[in-house]
């Protein structure tokens, strides 16, 4: 509820101002202590309103109070403005119409009162609207945040699925290769081998020649097949540490030093994607907001974890809004049971640590 505090403060200020106006009217009037009783009662209702949450129709209390006290203290008519304000504050601004009629019908009517009530209803409905909007905004924000949370979850599941698909593809490829090798290459090579063996035994010149010819054909077919098979395997994109190095190299005008330790084969492709995202995020940040002259990227891979640390020597610290990019990285790291922290106290420092589970590939 703290977000609304500013509005509450404003509302309280306005309520007090209204009471002060009443108090002033009392000071310039000739009314006796009844006015004080009246103001005191209004004050109590106000404090109850601040202290406890009371029903929406509670502005009726003020209306009743005003009507009761008007005979003793004519200016109590002005107290109706408080009721109008409270009504407007809960969205019932139309109450001004019956009240205005009452005011006009009342003998001691004057135009200031109408102005005052109008002003009050304006302030009240304005506050009501902005509080409503604020609540709405907060709600949307919370919803968005939640959705993002869920979205990340889905993303992670997708990544997981991708990982599985990748494994399946790998398997399929392996099958294809082995089938290819077995069905064609193997077949041809075996044929060629048998032909050569037979060639050694054969004495007939013609027969030998045809066997040799056969071997030639089989071998040349095998070469083509082999080339074809291998050609199918060539990776289209870089992956792993090469990819990170490529990113660093591409960020040319920035001075980035990259070093890594450990066995890069321990890191799964899922992790590489995450690390890549971190690196990109950091580089964007450094190039956009930082006045750094040097950035250091360290990648450590041990038996149990992968750690990416990016540290620059910038001095700008005030830019500390965690953007949505960082937010989603944070969530992703959490999904991978790792951690992701950003610190701007002493240069921009990004550390991402992911655990390595030894899974059977």
């Amino acid at each position: 509820m703290r977000v609304y505090e500013r509005y509450f403060r404003f509302v309280i200020f306005w309520r007090i101002a209204q009471l002060l106006i009443l108090a002033h009217l009392w000071l310039i009037s000739t009314a006796g202590f009844e006015a004080i009783v009246f103001i005191l009662l209004l004050l109590i209702v106000m404090s109850i309103r601040i202290r406890f949450s009371i029903p929406k129709w509670s502005f009726l209390i003020e209306i009743v109070l005003c009507i009761v006290f008007i005979p003793y203290f004519p200016f109590a008519l002005y107290g109706l403005a408080i009721a109008i304000f409270e009504a407007a504050l809960v969205g019932k601004w139309w109450l001004i119409f019956p009240m205005t009629i009452f005011m006009i019908a009342y003998p001691a009517f004057d135009i200031t009162l109408i102005w005052y009530s109008l002003l009050t209803v304006l302030v009240g409905s304005f506050t009501y609207q902005s509080m409503k909007e604020r609540k709405q905004l907060e709600k949307t924000l919370d919803k968005e945040r939640k959705e993002k949370h869920e979205l990340e979850q889905i993303k992670m599941e997708l990544l997981e699925a991708y990982f599985e698909v990748e494994k399946a593809a790998e398997l399929k490829e392996r099958n294809r290769i082995s089938r290819e090798l077995h069905d064609h290459l193997g077949h041809d090579l075996t044929g060629a081998l048998l032909a050569i063996q037979a060639y050694e035994q054969v004495e007939n010149e013609n027969q030998a020649h045809s066997l040799l010819e056969q071997v030639k054909i089989r071998l040349s077919r095998s070469t083509t097949r082999l080339r074809n098979t291998v050609h199918n395997l060539t990776p289209v994109t870089y992956i792993g540490v090469d990819r990170l190095q490529r990113i660093v190299a591409d960020s040319e005008p920035l001075l980035i030093e990259f070093q890594y330790n450990g066995n890069v084969d321990n890191v799964s492709s899922q992790y590489w994607l995450m690390l890549e995202a971190c690196l990109k995020e950091a580089i964007t940040n450094v190039s956009k907001y930082s006045n750094a002259t040097k950035t250091k990227v360290e990648l450590d891979i041990t038996e149990t974890l992968v750690r990416l640390k990016i540290h620059d020597n910038g001095t700008i610290t005030q830019k500390s809004v965690n953007g949505s990019g960082l937010r989603s990285l944070q969530l992703r790291a959490r999904m991978l049971k790792g951690s992701f922290t950003i610190d701007r106290q002493n240069g921009y420092l990004l550390v991402c640590v992911l655990p390595i589970q030894r899974r059977g590939k």
Binding site: M1, N261, I301, T302, T304, L305, D343, L349, V351
Partner: protein, 313 residues
């Protein structure tokens, strides 16, 4: 399950203090809540005890997620505050009596519990002494006793050892262990990692409102560590070939400082043997120092900062 926090978000104005905290506390544990100043430890405790309403998420105490802060549950919780929250003008016994009273203890039970609690923290001989005449450590202990009189199942200790002498600190740590043996679950907040290493059965490390890791001390130290440092003191430093050490895989840095050689390499590289072999070829080895990893290193690995002041390493 003693307590659990589920997706807790806490904002002060627009500042996010707790960011989706999920934490389960199981019976019989001592959970060490570790983190630099301003990590959100105290806020976490305030949310856990109902002192503060949360912006999102829910708290469950003793399996009760609907009304976690009803009196039935509050009776089972004890809180040792960061400040010494006792009445200096009252005696130790009266202080304990007061807190026993507000937890609804009466008559014989109260008398017995007060005596037990005071004896437990080693104040049995000072029951009649006024708290204002106590030393700092004694006041701390009385502060703890006051949180123990109602025999809580779940004890929350918010930096209970700030600013006291080592002896009292040891006394307190021993007491905490004893409590755990008696079946109390303890959440122990501190920014002294040594304390957590000694007593905690599980560590939760908090930084910037997030739980960055949790696990047993051993597991964390074993698994979350990205480099190790080996210091070798040699007799003839000038003859040692630094290049051949540097050439070992995973070695990050080799520094020669006087007759000491410091080798920084990735964690668990198993280089000790190899390094020694290389050095022994050229020089005598006078001493070896392999820096033992601790929770500080864990924090350093995870955040790149030091635990004590949160500064850059």
């Amino acid at each position: 399950m003693i307590a659990s926090l589920n997706g807790i978000v806490k904002r002060y104005d627009s500042k996010l203090v707790l960011d989706y905290i999920d934490l389960d506390i199981n019976e019989g544990q001592i959970i060490g809540l570790l983190g630099p100043n301003g990590a959100g430890k105290s806020t976490l405790i305030r949310c856990l005890t109902g002192m503060e309403t949360v912006n999102q998420g829910n708290v469950t105490l003793f399996g009760d997620g609907k009304k976690p802060f009803q009196n039935k549950n509050k009776e089972k919780i004890g809180l040792v505050t960061q400040e010494i929250s006792i009445f200096p003008e009252l005696t130790a016994q009266e202080n304990a009596n007061f807190f026993a009273g507000i937890y609804g203890l009466k008559g014989e039970v109260r008398k017995r519990r007060v005596a037990e609690a005071l004896a437990f923290v080693g104040l049995a001989e000072h029951t009649k002494g006024r708290a204002q005449n106590f030393s700092g450590g004694m006041q701390r202990r009385l502060n703890i006793a006051c949180s123990l009189v109602h025999d809580p199942k779940f004890l929350i200790m918010d930096e209970p050892t700030v600013g006291i002498d080592p002896q009292s600190r040891n006394h307190i740590l021993q007491a905490v262990k004893k409590l755990q043996r008696n079946g109390t679950t303890i959440l122990y907040t501190t920014h002294y990692m040594e304390e957590v290493e000694t007593i905690a059965s599980e560590v939760v490390i908090l930084d910037k409102g997030q739980i960055i890791t949790r696990g047993t001390v051993q597991d964390l130290i074993r698994n979350i560590q990205h480099e190790e440092r080996i210091k070798v003191e040699v007799s003839h430093p000038e003859e040692v070939s630094l290049e051949s050490i540097q050439a070992l895989p995973d070695v990050k840095q080799v520094i020669k400082d006087g007759n000491q050689i410091l080798v920084v390499s990735s964690a668990n590289s198993g280089h000790l043997d190899r390094i020694l072999t290389i050095i022994k070829e050229d020089s005598g080895v006078v001493g070896i120092n392999v820096e033992k990893a601790n929770l500080e290193d864990v924090f350093l690995t995870l955040t790149g900062r030091t635990l004590r002041d949160g500064g850059s390493a």
